[in-house]
Amino acid sequence: MDFSAMNSAEQAHMTRVIERKQMQDFMRMYSNLVERCFNSCCNDFTSKALSSKEEQCVLNCTDKFLKHSERVGARFAEHNAEMMNGSGSK
């Protein structure tokens, strides 16, 4: 996004909006991750304790999701940059 058309008061306001949004995004990703890994890894409710197998699954799930997000984010940034440069055509 390009905020260069904004005056400094507007840019200061947007900085604040973006900071708040980043916090919200982070929290949303966190709870989404808990839900996602819980749903994928926990299917046995004969006990309330996490088995070591379930725990390993949760750790791998978290790890993999973060790496996935990062990779998607990197590709997303490249595509966005391309589109900004007007070479967005196939």
């Binding site: 507007e10 909006v17 390993q56 790496k67 996935h68 998607v72 984010g73 997303f76 595509h79």
Partner: protein, 98 residues
Amino acid sequence: MSFLGRGSTPSSGGINQERVEMATQELDMITDIFNRLVSSCHAKCISTRYAEGELNKGESVCIDRCVAKFFEVNKKVGEKMQAVGAAAGAGPSGFTSL
């Protein structure tokens, strides 16, 4: 009369409410698309057995192609919606009149 900061007159402290609001909406839009992209490509590319925490080669390649294809779909849908002029009448807010 620009009672609530409408129009392009700057209101509080030199801030043009409308410009700031447009930028905020654009930011929301990008975040929304990104989150759906992450979720869709996860469903398409990542095995949920979670035997390891690394992305393997196949998953990595799949992610790259998935993102590229998602952008293509994004473009096609955008063109189609412009062609049919889809903004009007698709939501319930359209039923609301003062």
